[in-house]
């Protein structure tokens, strides 16, 4: 396992982590500057943050700073209540693919969606199997475009507490089953697959089959991204109470060890949503803490 204690060369910042500074929106341009100043070499930007600045401008600044991407956040949200909605989701995902290519991302991360309308508080139906079927079909359709653009898709299994409204792919095994069905691999194939997974410790740490799933994913080079933060006790909000690495109960080094044992040698991407804590603080303090904790707790 790589030694992270001496530097932060394998730290990537998911830009949601400092989307607010002192409780106020922080533009992506300021985020890029702050990362570059601290020698953070990689980021994973969110689409809404990119759109607010403009794709061309973001692309230019990323190149000027010499930054890499560890992923592009995010495509997905495939299920819909009608054919028009399904098509609109697919069209939007194709635009996300184009943006990922423009930004030279290594993969487009997919938060696959769940029951249509649930995120707005009123689910159109309760048929989780239907939502999962629409996710499968959506990924299958998008995969053709992804292959044509040589832009891998990374399914991110989300914690089961998001099964209703954000993602109905909730375990690594379930994500890998989708990968094997839609993008079968030849034994021993070495090229990056067109379809893989993003493993986030926050979403997966509880899973009794996690170690086995990581090994399985690694055998086919399916691990396209590795995300870290921490699970707080108590957790006060289902979405926006993620903890800084070291402040919670996840044994992050153990999980990173499993991931790296498969040959993964990419970035550890810090992705924290924190309405009450980190988003209230100065982003400079947040970044410095991310760097310190990357060394001590990842």
């Amino acid at each position: 396992m790589r030694d992270f204690s001496q530097d932060h060369r394998w730290l990537s910042l998911n830009t949601a982590t400092i989307r607010k500074s002192r409780g106020q929106d922080l533009p992506l341009t300021s985020i890029l500057d702050a990362c570059a100043e601290r020698g953070i070499r990689a980021i994973s930007p969110w689409r809404d943050q990119v759109h607010a600045v403009g794709l061309a401008e973001v692309s230019r600044r990323i190149q000027a700073h010499g930054l890499e991407l560890s992923g592009y956040c995010r495509g997905g949200m495939f299920p819909a209540a009608d054919a028009q909605g399904l098509q609109a989701a697919l069209d939007d995902n194709r635009r996300a693919l184009d943006e990922a290519c423009e930004l030279n991302a290594p993969c487009l991360v997919l938060v696959v969606g769940a029951l249509p309308g649930a995120l707005q508080g009123q689910a159109a139906h309760k048929d989780l199997a239907l939502a999962r079927s629409q996710v499968r079909d959506g990924i299958a359709a998008l995969l053709e475009d992804a292959r044509a653009r040589r832009m891998p898709l990374a399914i991110e299994p989300l914690h089961p507490m998001y099964a209703a409204d954000r993602a109905c792919v909730n375990t690594l095994a379930q994500a890998l089953d989708l990968c094997d069905e839609l993008d079968p691999r030849q034994p021993g194939a070495s090229a990056t697959p067109a379809l893989g997974v993003a493993v986030d410790v926050y979403h997966t740490w509880w899973d009794p089959l996690l170690q086995a799933g990581i090994s399985r994913a690694g055998r086919d080079q399916r691990i396209l991204a590795f995300h870290v933060c921490d699970w707080l006790t108590p957790t006060r909000d289902l979405l926006n109470d993620r903890g800084m690495m070291g402040d919670g109960v996840i044994d992050i080094p153990r999980i990173r060890g499993w991931v790296e044992a498969t040959g993964f040698a990419g970035y550890s991407e810090v992705e924290i949503f924190s309405t009450e804590n980190w988003w209230q603080r100065p982003h400079e303090e947040v970044l410095d803490t991310c760097i310190a904790r990357h060394r001590s707790a990842v």
Copy 2:
């Protein structure tokens, strides 16, 4: 599948559902009276509620009302930071077994526990595998006493969002693996097993392997209890924001259909924790709503 639309003879009330009425604690005696008045035939009481009244008095009232139990809530919480803590947990579980026998419960429900100290906000360690090993050993030890008393133990897999602080058994498959290891069944055995599971739709509805797990559980008569409530969107609190059946996104009849297809013909136990909603209302209204929703949404 049984028709629940005409009566509520298969409704059981988990007494946590009205542990508060109009925001104030409601004694178990009042809960028993209110259930009996409405023709609710079964309850599943919590230990703290029983202790507040006294075991003998509760037992007498249950018999006087002709009430049955659908389970006794709860044993478990096996992991501890030291040998003394492990022993204390086991001793307490043996007392819970005695109480379950006194109350003529069909099973003692186990919420197995997780990282010691996490429920109090400060986990003693982050070794989830160790906690799971202590759970296994704790159930194995308790199982001897349970067999001697002919009181089945029902492992309740809890939603993964409780993996840190309440239960590190988080899927039905994981619970059934424990059952098979600790209480192997002969093919075709018909007697109630010493170790089984409590299937709660709130904890398990998201699981892509749920239907398969229910079938597997049913083959060995492992389903000792079936609990219902609903998953709200949004869910505002990880513990105390469970919804009334029909108010959320869980397809409860579909899951009940899977359960009953295995031969299960017991109670549907309503278990709702709701600080901001149902616990603020008059318990009479809550019970009447449970009865109506049992008919229309379970």
